[in-house]
C-alpha cells in the first residue's frame, strides 16, 4: 500500500508490499533503523544511474543488489549478508618468525602424503597423444620429438600454482625480493615458455624485474649497458645465453662488478664458464629451477645444497625414481629414471608417471637449509631430446637424416661454448650436408651458441661405457 511518509516497517508478508516514496538523498536516513537487517535490493533504473544508485544503496546498508527477476538466485561463492560464510566458519591464523629463522622458506606447509602410483608409465609419445582437455587456457609449444610441434596445455589456475611454487623455489635459492634487481634473459630460441614462466614467478615475488629479449645478432652491448645503468644484480636465463653475454661483454661487466647472482634454468654451467662469471664478480651461480614445458616445474635449488641438487616442489609434483631396466622404484639413492605425477594440473594433459627423460637419484637426509621437501640430484638425459644451446635437438631427427649409426659427445669448447662432437662413419662434409635441413640445429650453430664438430669414425670405435660395455648414443660431459 501507498504510504506517503518515510517510516518504514516490515511487510506482513504473504504477497504484501509496502510502497513508499524515498528520494535518493534521503535513502541513508530512512533506512538507518533497518540497517542491521537490510539485505537485497532490486534496483530498477536507467543504466546511466546504476553506478550512482548502487553506491547510495550500499552506503545505506544494502549488502546485495540483483535484478528483480533473479533476486532469489545466488551464485557459487557469493557473499551472504555481507560476509563469506566460509570465513565465519574459519579462523585466520598467523605465524611470525624472527628474521633469522627459515629466512628462505616461503611456506610452513607440511609435505603432502604421497599417493601410491600404479598407473602405466607415460612416455613423451603417450603424453603428446593425449587430447588437450577443455580446461586448458594456456598453451605452450613444447619440444616435439618428431618435428611436429607439440603443445602442453594448462589452466591459468594450474599455471598460477606452478609459478607460485617456482617463486617459492627462487626464494629458497637465494633471490631476495627486498633488494634484488633481476634481468630475465630467458627469451631465446624456441624456449619462450621459460621466459613467460620466470616473468610470472618474478611478478609473484614482487621483485624488480627487467624482462629482456636476447639479441639475434650476437650483439650484447646494449644489454650489458642496461645491466649497468639499471644496477641489475641478478640475471636469470639459459646457460648458453649467459655465457655468451659474459664472453662478449666481460670487460664492461667486470668493471661494473655488480652482477652478484646468476640463476639458470635446469642446465649446468661448465667449470670453465663458472670461472668466467666469477671473474666478473658473480658470487652465486645456481641451476635454480628444474622442470619442463610438458610437466611444469619440478625442483628448485636451495642455499645449502650443491648445484645440480634440487628440492622437489612437492606441493605441486610427485616424483618417482625407477630403475633403468625395470619399472620398479630404485633402492635408496640408486640412479634411475625420473617419473613425474603432477598434482596441480587440471587443464591440458594429464601428467601421470610421465617419464620426463632425465635420470637422477634421491639424496638422503634432511637439508641444512631447513626445507623438509625431499631432494634429488639431477643427472643426465636418457631420452630422445637434448637441450643444446637454447633449443632442443631431437635424436630421432638426427638419426633420420644421417641414416647411419652415430654417437654424440657433448662438452664445451675452449672458450666455453657448448660443443657437440658427432661421430659417424660418414665423411664430415656428407654428414654436414645431410643435416643441412635440420633448421633447429643449424640455427643454434649459426647463432654461435653451439659448436658442431663432425668426425668420421666407424661404429666399432665409438666410446664404450667402462662398466657396462654398452655404447651410449649420447655422452654428456657438460658439467
Amino acid at each position: 500500500m501507498w504510504s506517503h511518509d518515510r517510516q518504514l516497517a516490515p511487510s506482513p508478508l504473504f504477497r504484501s508490499v509496502l510502497l513508499h516514496p524515498l528520494p535518493q538523498a534521503l535513502l541513508t536516513a530512512a533506512l538507518l533503523p533497518w540497517r542491521n537487517v537490510l539485505q537485497s535490493c532490486a534496483l530498477m533504473c536507467a543504466q546511466s544511474r546504476i553506478a550512482e544508485l548502487t553506491h547510495a544503496l550500499i552506503a545505506a546498508g544494502v549488502t546485495r543488489i540483483a535484478p528483480i527477476g533473479s533476486i532469489h538466485d545466488g551464485y557459487a561463492g557469493e557473499p551472504h549478508d555481507g560476509v563469506y560464510a566460509l570465513q565465519r566458519l574459519s579462523r585466520r591464523v598467523s605465524v611470525s618468525l624472527a628474521a633469522t629463522q627459515l629466512p628462505n622458506q616461503a611456506s610452513l606447509d607440511l609435505p603432502p602424503l604421497a599417493a601410491k602410483s600404479c598407473a602405466a608409465i607415460m612416455n613423451k609419445e603417450a603424453f603428446v597423444a593425449q587430447p588437450i582437455n577443455d580446461q586448458a587456457q594456456l598453451y605452450f609449444r613444447s619440444g616435439g620429438s618428431s618435428g611436429t610441434p607439440a603443445l602442453a596445455g594448462y589452466s591459468y589456475r594450474d599455471f598460477d600454482r606452478q609459478m607460485r611454487a617456482t617463486a617459492d623455489g627462487l626464494f629458497a635459492a637465494g633471490l631476495d625480493p627486498a633488494r634484488d634487481r633481476v634481468m630475465n634473459l630467458f627469451f631465446c630460441g624456441g624456449l619462450y615458455g621459460g621466459f613467460l614462466s620466470f616473468s610470472k614467478a618474478l611478478e609473484l615475488l614482487e621483485v624488480t624485474h627487467l624482462p629482456m629479449a636476447a639479441p639475434a645478432d650476437d650483439d650484447y652491448r646494449e644489454i650489458a649497458q642496461l645491466i649497468i645503468d639499471q644496477r641489475v644484480n641478478v640475471l636469470v636465463g639459459m646457460p648458453a645465453t649467459l655465457h655468451r653475454l659474459f664472453l662478449n661483454e666481460q670487460e664492461r661487466l667486470r668493471a661494473y662488478g655488480g652482477v652478484e647472482k646468476v640463476f639458470l634454468g635446469g642446465e649446468h654451467l661448465s667449470e670453465q664458464n663458472r670461472a668466467l662469471l666469477r671473474s666478473c664478480g658473480v658470487s652465486s651461480i645456481r641451476s635454480a629451477i628444474y622442470g619442463s614445458v610438458d610437466a611444469g616445474p619440478l625442483g628448485h635449488a636451495c642455499k645449502a645444497s650443491a648445484d645440480g641438487v634440487f628440492h622437489l616442489m612437492n606441493a605441486i609434483q610427485h616424483l618417482e625414481v625407477v630403475a633403468f631396466d625395470e619399472d620398479v622404484p630404485v633402492i635408496g639413492d640408486q640412479v634411475g629414471r625420473l617419473l613425474v605425477t603432477s598434482l596441480a594440473r587440471e587443464g591440458g594433459q594429464r601428467v601421470q608417471r610421465y617419464e620426463i627423460g632425465d635420470t637422477g637419484r634421491w639424496l638422503p637426509g634432511v637439508c641444512a637449509c631447513g626445507l623438509t621437501s625431499p631432494r634429488f640430484e639431477l643427472l643426465q638425459r636418457h631420452g630422445k631430446l637434448l637441450r643444446i644451446g637454447t633449443d632442443f635437438i631431437s635424436l630421432s631427427d638426427l638419426a633420420s637424416r644421417l641414416q647411419v649409426p652415430f654417437q654424440l659427445q657433448l662438452d664445451h669448447s675452449a672458450d666455453g661454448v657448448e660443443r657437440m662432437q658427432l661421430h659417424c662413419e660418414l665423411a664430415a662434409d656428407i654428414a654436414k650436408h645431410r643435416l643441412a635441413d635440420y633448421l633447429t640445429l643449424m640455427t643454434v650453430v649459426d647463432s654461435g651458441l653451439l659448436v658442431l664438430q663432425i668426425e668420421q669414425c666407424p661404429p666399432e670405435h665409438f666410446v664404450q661405457n667402462k662398466h657396462s660395455g654398452k655404447t651410449p648414443l649420447v655422452i654428456d660431459s657438460r658439467r
Partner: protein, 320 residues
C-alpha cells in the same frame, strides 16, 4: 534420529551421545580434513542421487536441488572465492616479511537449523565441512530424521572414512541446546530474533556466534523505469515463494517525492495485482501490524527454499 560416527541410531541418550562424541573430538581436531576429501565424497553423493541409487525420502525437485548443490566444481569454486586460492597453505603473504597466514577450521561447530527449509541443514553441514570443521547438527523437530539419513549417505560416499567423525546429528530438545553448545567453538543458528537471542545466551564465552537472522529486501524504482513491465516483474517477485525468502522484496521504494507519481503507481499496481495468478496485495502500513520478517536464508546454490505455514516453526526458524 541420531547419527554418531557414521551410524544411525533410533534411540540414544543425549548424555551418552555427547560423551562418545567428546571423547573422540581431540583426535578429529588434530587431523586436518582436506577439502578434497569433502568434495570427493559430496561428488559421489551427487552421483548416487543422480543414478537414483538411494532410498532417501526425497521428491524429484529436492533430489535435483541437492544434485545441483553438490556439484564438485561449484563447491571448489565457492571455497576458492570465499577463502582464496591455497586457503590451507600457511605461507608468507609478502616474501619480504617472515609472517605466515592461513585459514584453519574453527573446530567444533554446532548447527541449529530451521523447520521451513528441509534441505538447509544438510547444506549447512556440507558448507561447514568445506571449512574443515567437526559438525554436530541439531535439526528442527519437523526434520523427521531426513538430514541424518542424508548425512549418513554422504559419509558412506567417503572413501577415506574420515568424514564419519566430522558429522553427527543430535536431535536435542530446546532445553538441551545449552548442553549441546557447551563444547562448541562456533554455533551456527538460523531463526528469528527471539529464537536467536535465546540460543545466544547459552553460548560459552569465546565461542563464535554465527547467526543467520531475518532480513529485509526491497525494490528501488526510479520514475523513468516505472513501466508496466517493470511493475509486472515486481508483482511476480512479491508473489513468488509467498515472500518467505529473505531476498523477497517487502518494500517498493520510489525515488520520488511526487505524490502524484506514487498515486499513479499504486493504481497501476492495483490493476496488475487483481490479475490472476498474481493475486498480490498492497498494504497500508497501519492496516495490519507486521509481525515478523521473512524466514529463509537465500542459499547460494540452487537449493529451493520452500514456503511454510506460519506458526508451525519451532524455536529455530530459518534466518533471512
Amino acid at each position: 534420529m541420531y547419527l554418531i560416527n557414521g551410524q544411525l541410531h533410533h534411540a540414544y541418550s543425549l548424555d551418552q551421545a555427547l560423551q562418545d562424541l567428546q571423547q573422540a573430538l581431540p583426535q578429529h581436531l588434530a587431523r586436518a580434513l582436506d577439502s578434497r576429501t569433502v568434495i570427493d565424497a559430496v561428488a559421489g553423493f551427487a552421483r548416487q542421487l543422480h543414478d537414483a541409487h538411494s532410498d532417501l525420502p526425497l521428491d524429484n525437485e529436492q533430489r535435483q536441488a541437492l544434485i545441483d548443490f553438490c556439484q564438485p566444481e561449484a563447491l571448489a569454486y565457492k571455497r576458492q572465492r570465499e577463502l582464496g586460492a591455497d586457503a590451507d597453505s600457511l605461507r608468507r603473504f609478502d616474501y619480504r616479511q617472515p609472517r605466515f597466514e592461513a585459514w584453519r577450521p574453527l573446530g567444533l561447530v554446532v548447527h541449529i537449523t530451521p523447520a521451513n527449509a528441509p534441505l538447509l541443514a544438510f547444506c549447512a553441514v556440507v558448507e561447514s565441512l568445506l571449512a574443515g570443521n567437526v559438525n554436530w547438527l541439531r535439526p528442527s523437530r519437523s526434520d523427521q530424521g531426513l538430514t541424518a539419513r542424508l548425512l549418513r549417505a554422504l559419509v558412506d560416499c567417503d572413501a577415506s572414512g574420515q568424514l564419519a567423525g566430522h558429522v553427527a546429528v543430535i536431535p536435542a530438545s530446546t532445553e538441551q541446546i545449552g548442553k549441546l553448545c557447551k563444547p562448541a567453538n562456533g554455533v551456527a543458528a538460523w531463526g528469528g530474533e527471539a529464537a536467536l537471542q535465546a540460543i545466544r545466551q547459552q553460548l560459552v564465552p569465546g565461542c563464535r556466534w554465527i547467526d543467520w537472522g531475518h532480513r529485509i529486501s526491497f525494490v528501488y524504482l526510479t520514475p523513468e523505469s516505472s513501466t508496466p513491465e517493470a511493475l509486472d516483474a515486481v508483482a511476480d517477485e512479491v508473489c513468488r515463494l509467498d515472500q518467505q525468502a529473505c531476498s523477497s522484496p517487502q518494500w517498493l521504494l520510489v525515488d520520488s517525492d511526487d505524490p502524484q507519481f506514487c498515486a499513479i503507481s499504486v493504481n497501476a499496481w492495483r490493476r496488475r495485482c487483481n490479475d490472476a495468478p498474481r493475486n498480490g496485495r498492497l498494504w497500508y502500513r497501519q492496516s495490519r501490524k507486521p509481525r515478523k520478517l521473512p524466514r529463509t536464508r537465500r542459499w547460494p546454490a540452487s537449493v529451493r527454499v520452500l514456503p511454510v505455514t506460519p506458526g508451525k516453526c519451532g524455536m529455530a526458524q530459518a534466518g533471512g
